[in-house]
């Protein structure tokens, strides 16, 4: 395989590295991978930080390994290759009444990347992470051996690979359990809260009633209004709940993106003033209501703008996501917002949700409240994020590696108590650290 030298970054456009990118298209390409000491697989590049960057070796771009291999219409189990995107899965299966069991806030992720990050979605408090819906994996181990692993076979490798950030080998294909739906519309209930306490309360109260929940928080509000939010709950609508115009097409799929941001440097659109104005009006004009919306609007509001990350300009932005235990929730989240405002850092986007219990290993979700914040990249951001990380660590929480570019090794090791178990598998399958990333190096996931 040939490589192409490309300036590569995660979705946050920070950091940027020069990478040698290999793009396999056929299965036999994996037998002639090229002479690299280190490899990292990569999908659609939606991890924000440096989890898919590997300047000291080859980047294996899996997007063209994207065949659907088998589907059982009885059980709803899909066998697909790692480079297949969630967007493609929806396009193919929604018209037949199947949906993704777990989905992040964008459909432009690959199946392989989603597994490597053990993604969670708006239904985590009920259904858990993607792990619960992966039946088996087809994996190329660092030795070159191709194996199937599952809960019954090579279980340790299976557990370490889901949420393993691509460090245990190449995920080639996976068996994914899809869920049946009657319509592709969401029956949603929208609430407005006046402050953080109310936000957390309503999330905790209504979570049992709805499988999907998320809160958009006004990251600029302070004082008594700190943590005011628009909280959305939802569940899939039944066919008889749809309006006349939709009832005849209950399984409509999503449209293509309507706008595309053509280039960097249009960051004039996005600054403290505009975001503050947007937040205020978004909050003021939002009416608490019940309504029916398409899944694209409910799950993927930002997908209608292609390359929206370019709005942050060439320097990019950092998304930071933590989860803190439920009892420490209000105190820690308040501290995070207050500290942020004191330091002059205002999150351009703030999203909060409750998480159910987690599964361990390197997987991010644990029970508690998870908060994701977007900060445009300015000088001093690393020091600032490190302070946020300390706050989270002291509260007994943890940081999501898929969003991270800053975390230190020592903080990371305290956040993930099952790390040694993961490292044991890593040492067994990959003693020479063939699979490595910039992040893995920083966090000591490789030696």
């Amino acid at each position: 395989m040939h490589y192409k030298v490309v300036q590569l970054s995660g979705w946050g456009n920070y950091p940027v590295v020069k990478a040698r990118v290999y793009r396999p298209e056929r299965l036999r390409d994996f037998a002639h991978m090229g002479k690299e000491i280190h490899w990292i697989p990569r999908g659609l590049g939606r991890s924000y930080g440096d989890a898919s960057l590997n300047p000291h070796g080859g980047t294996l771009w899996m997007r063209r390994i994207n065949c659907f291999l088998d589907f059982d219409p009885e059980s709803g189990v899909l066998y697909a290759e790692a480079g297949v995107s969630f967007e493609e899965i929806l396009r193919v299966f929604v018209p037949h009444g199947w949906f993704l069991p777990v989905t992040p806030g964008t459909k432009y992720v690959t199946l392989g990347g989603a597994i490597a990050a053990d993604i969670h979605g708006k239904n985590h408090h009920v259904h858990g992470s993607l792990y619960n819906y992966i039946e088996a994996l087809e994996l190329i181990l660092p030795s070159g051996e191709k194996i199937f692993c599952s809960r019954k076979q090579d279980r340790d490798i299976f557990e370490a690979t889901i949420g393993g950030n691509g460090l245990t080998g190449i995920i080639l294909a996976a068996y994914l359990q899809l869920i049946p739906i009657e319509t592709s519309y969401i029956r949603q209930a929208v609430f407005k809260t006046a402050n953080l306490q109310e936000t957390l309360q309503i999330l905790s109260q209504l979570d049992q009633e709805y499988p999907f929940s998320v809160a958009w928080v006004d990251g600029f509000s302070r004082g008594k209004r700190l943590g005011r939010a628009i909280v959305q709950f939802g569940r899939f609508a039944k066919q008889n709940e749809l309006d006349g115009r939709w009832r005849n097409h209950p399984l409509r799929i999503h449209p293509s993106p309507t706008i595309s941001i053509p280039a960097y440097g249009v960051n004039l659109l996005l600054n403290k003033l505009t975001v503050r104005a947007f937040n205020n009006s978004h909050y003021a004009f939002c009416k608490p209501r019940e309504s029916t919306v398409h899944y694209n609007e409910f799950f993927y509001p930002l997908d209608c703008i292609a390359h929206w990350n370019r709005l942050y300009g060439r320097r990019g932005f950092l998304q930071w996501q933590c989860v803190v235990p439920p009892d420490a929730g209000e105190k820690t989240l308040t501290a995070i917002f207050q500290f942020s405002h004191e330091q002059g850092w205002f999150p351009y986007l703030a999203v909060l949700k409750r998480m159910g219990s987690g599964r361990g290993w390197l997987s991010f979700p644990v029970e508690g409240f998870t908060l994701a914040l977007d900060y445009p990249n300015r000088s001093g951001i690393e020091a600032f994020i490190s302070r946020l990380n300390e706050l989270v660590l002291n509260a007994g929480g943890r940081i999501y590696l898929t969003k991270d570019a800053v975390l230190t090794k020592s903080a990371f090791e305290q956040m993930y108590p099952e790390l040694d178990r993961w490292k044991g598998v890593k040492r067994a399958v990959d003693p020479n650290n063939v699979f490595a990333s910039l992040q893995a190096q920083r966090l000591g996931l490789i030696n």
């Binding site: 395989m1 040939h2 490589y3 192409k4 030298v5 990118v21 793009r23 298209e25 056929r26 299965l27 036999r28 390409d29 063209r64 065949c67 659907f68 291999l69 088998d70 589907f71 493609e88 193919v92």
Partner: protein, 242 residues
């Protein structure tokens, strides 16, 4: 409608196959790598709920009986696409007879044999279309790829003749000359610019095929580029480090 795709697992072949399958056209996929054909066939049938079959036509010569078998089993084929191509290693081919042979075999001899059989079949039916992939490299010999280029050039001449023969039988023959397309052939190679996505190329080809185009450059700007390149006097052109 049913289409036969020769070399269907090539990057452009896969993009065209997906476009055709989306339009509900049944496909016969033919290639040399069974596991890739299998992958492709299951992908198309799941994506588009469409029927298709695949044939492993094997290496080079012994495949004649197989292609006859394809036409016997699928007498309803009315379009034949040929994506067969092998760029090879120019430098290696200068000294290595085996590489040379492979470049000539795949790009010229194999294509000519398979297309002749396909032409005979369509001629008997007195209808159909043939869409054949040449290359801009076949428009003029250059030092960087003249083995590949000359084989494709031979194929171009063959296709022109074939078109003339089949014209009266109402069989349309289209020659596609791709410039840079984003495939493994161009990935990471120096000097590549504006490589078109295979999906876009596939859509262009299917659109132009309906319009009855005889020769098609994709992307379009390769037509003026190649016009200029063909017009240079050899005394100057041979000095170019192209």
């Amino acid at each position: 409608m049913k289409a036969l795709l020769l070399g269907s697992t090539s990057t452009i072949g896969r993009a065209v196959a997906r476009e055709l399958a989306r339009d509900g056209i049944d496909l016969v996929l033919a290639g040399r790598d069974s596991s890739e054909l299998h992958r492709q066939a299951s992908d198309l049938s799941i994506r588009y709920r469409q029927q298709n079959v695949f044939f492993d036509i094997g290496e080079f010569y012994p495949h004649f009986q197989k292609i006859e078998k394809i036409f016997n089993d699928h007498s309803d084929i009315d379009e034949v696409y040929c994506f067969i191509g092998y760029l090879g290693d120019q430098q290696l081919a200068e000294t290595d007879a085996e590489e040379r042979e492979k470049i000539l075999q795949v790009n010229y001899a194999t294509s000519v044999h398979l297309l002749s059989e396909a032409a005979n079949f369509l001629e008997r039916k007195r209808r159909g279309k043939m869409i054949i992939f040449g290359s801009v490299a076949g428009d003029r010999g250059r030092r960087s790829n003249y083995f590949y280029g000359s084989a494709k050039s031979g194929l171009h001449t063959f296709v022109d003749g074939l078109r003339a023969r089949l014209f009266s039988k109402k069989i349309h023959v289209m020659l596609v000359k791709p410039g840079y397309v984003d495939t493994p052939m161009t990935w990471g190679k120096p000097g590549i610019f504006w490589a078109a996505s295979p999906e876009k190329v596939a859509r262009t080809i299917l659109r132009k095929k309906e319009k009855g185009k005889r020769e098609l450059y994709v992307p379009w700007f390769w037509k003026p580029i190649m016009l200029v390149i063909r017009m240079f006097p050899e005394s100057i052109f041979m000095r170019f480090p192209l």
